[in-house]
Assembly symmetry: C2
Homo-oligomer: 339 residues x 2
DNA sequence: TCCCGCCACTAAACCGGTTTAGGTGTGAGG
DNA sequence: CCTCACACCTAAACCGGTTTAGTGGCGGGA
């Protein structure tokens, strides 16, 4: 069956196609009666304006892009994207927008990706995730004139539209929790420090300790992967004076760390307390259940999408208020060993 | 800067825009010299045909859709999609196609999603994942006339284009491995049996045991989530004669199971052997490292994309040959307890 | 009574490609 | 010398919407 077009609706309603367009974009210039008649006719015919044609004439793509630049290996276990995308989608679909996904392996390709998306006009805006400290992408996107929302903790330059849950309160809560339990040698297994969210979590850990007047424990840089988390843990435990608590920058690393401790016969939380970040589904189902930091990733996605659409339409930014990340205390944290 | 259009190129090359189109779709009717001149001019101007306009005139969307219908909660920890999407994308981008993503919470919404994607003409085809036994979607898509590729183990009706790694060999390998180790009470924690991949893994487990002449151990239906995996494990261990080995339909459930065993002081693999499915990154980093079944999900995504594009273009299907899933033996499996 | 302005609406141009129906120039065949 | 076919290219229609310029009718003020 050949789909209906605006012409069919116009003919059926006895008006010009211009009128149909006016009715559907509820623009002034039609009598209420005519408007209603047109809408009714369209409903009857089951007609809906074609995004393809609309996109061409309004010179908009009616889609936004998300480029995931991690190697698939790292991507595999990432619990963040599916939830984030769910939130994004729920907002986009309300406005007739679609989400275009790209996955590239190399960071070089990522630039190309944005370039192509932009000058093929496939998207009207993009999300930028996994920002690096000194990332070139904001500059690139500015040059391309492509609206972009940075997904992640706030940046130094506040004028760049970033939407994100500040991870500081989450990490701070974890550190505070450990301090309360009497720990004084609190280590950190960080994400890559060249990444903004790796760096900001490390800073939060460091700042919280400083505020409490407790000397900073050792910090090892890892890359959010289980492998690296395990290696970092081994290094920490091999220290002459190993920490009594480790704050990990991700659940994945924390779970790997848990397993390293177990394999060495180190009791968690008796001899070692461990906290994760992200509150993966699995966190509650490892042994012992992992204390972690949970944030509302879906709401975050929704907020980011809303902001991006505002940017595209050059509308005023509505303030986003996301709940701060919350510490979920489980059994991987306990009183500092007394010896 | 205003982007260039086909008209600019035509003018610059001193030809009509029709000629430019011919050159770019390398269609006959141009002398090699002219063709080359046009392409050179375009290259110089940095012009590339606009998918928007192309989509309108060829009546194609130049995009395909993927609808993820799981509740975000289940989606969160799913290691499948990111890799799969990476594979899909790598194939699509070669052909100027884009991937449109939708996430819906309810299965009812999923139908709506496909309907909308189809009759808004947003996509030329879709992937169908997480197929149910007696799923209505194939019928719906057939009715809509929307090309679709089912992602998952092969279906009863072979004429429906399905691309997937048959999970039978993987599960069979796991069961065979356990049998070799002397296990005779081998249980299964299944995915939802109303889902094709839940069902097919259960069947594979059952069939392999039958072929070996070993009586079927208990089978508990779960839903691929960690929570359900843990509950199922508790049930199995509470049996008067608990199994000595459990084959899980997913790593997530297996890891949760591992943790249940640990919390009860049951030694894995001394008293209980455990296998997962999917070979998540974490599998190698839990305690003990999990024996699991790995498949080439990226290659799978690539194959599915290739098939879908063929379907859309009404081309002949090139045979897909994906490596069968392979058993990765780690330390969660060992000889059956002797008592 | 005439003119002006406004409302409701239509006709046509436009977005940027593809595609089809010609149109021109050249060489071969009769 | 005329015709015909063919190779090469152009002009214009088309995809399905949006948008702008313009038209007809009607009420109100002078």
């Amino acid at each position: 069956m050949p789909r209906h077009t605006i012409n069919d609706v116009a003919r059926a309603a006895g008006v010009s196609k211009g009128a149909v367009s006016l009715a559907f974009n509820n623009r002034p210039g039609l009598s209420p009666a005519t408007r209603e008649r047109i809408l009714a006719t369209a409903r009857e015919l089951g007609w809906t304006p074609s995004p393809r044609a609309r996109a061409l004439s309004v010179s908009r793509a009616l889609a936004v892009g998300l480029v995931m630049a991690r190697p698939p290996e790292t991507l595999r276990a990432d619990p963040f994207f599916p939830s984030f995308i769910a939130g994004v989608e729920s907002e986009l679909s309300k406005h007739g927008y679609a989400l275009l996904l790209q996955v590239v392996d190399e960071h070089d390709d990522e630039d190309q990706s944005y370039r192509r998306l932009s000058n093929e006009g496939r998207v009207d805006g993009v999300f930028v995730t996994d920002l690096f400290v000194d990332d070139v992408r904001p500059a690139l996107l500015a040059e391309l004139g492509l609206p972009a929302v940075i997904v992640g903790p706030a940046l130094p330059e506040p004028y760049w539209p970033a939407v994100g849950v500040d991870d500081k309160p989450g990490i701070a809560a974890a550190v505070a929790h450990l301090l309360e339990l009497g720990h004084t040698r609190i280590a950190h297994v960080a994400g890559p420090l060249e990444m903004v969210h790796g760096c900001s979590r490390r800073d939060a850990w460091s700042a919280t300790l400083a505020e409490a007047g407790v000397p900073e424990g050792p910090c090892i840089e890892a890359d959010f992967s289980a492998e690296a988390g395990a290696a970092a843990t081994r290094n920490l435990l091999d220290l002459p004076e190993p920490p009594t608590a480790i704050v990990y920058a991700s659940d994945l690393m924390a779970i790997a760390g848990l397993s390293v401790a177990a394999s060495r016969g180190i009791d968690v939380p008796g001899q070692l307390s461990i906290t994760g970040y992200e509150d993966t589904e699995l966190a509650a189902h490892v042994q012992p259940p992992l204390t972690s930091v949970a944030s509302d990733v879906i709401g975050w996605g929704r907020a980011a999408a809303r902001r991006l659409l505002e940017l595209i339409d050059q509308r005023e930014a509505t303030p986003v208020d996301l709940p701060p990340p919350a510490l979920v205390v489980r059994r991987s944290t306990g009183p500092a060993p007394t010896n």
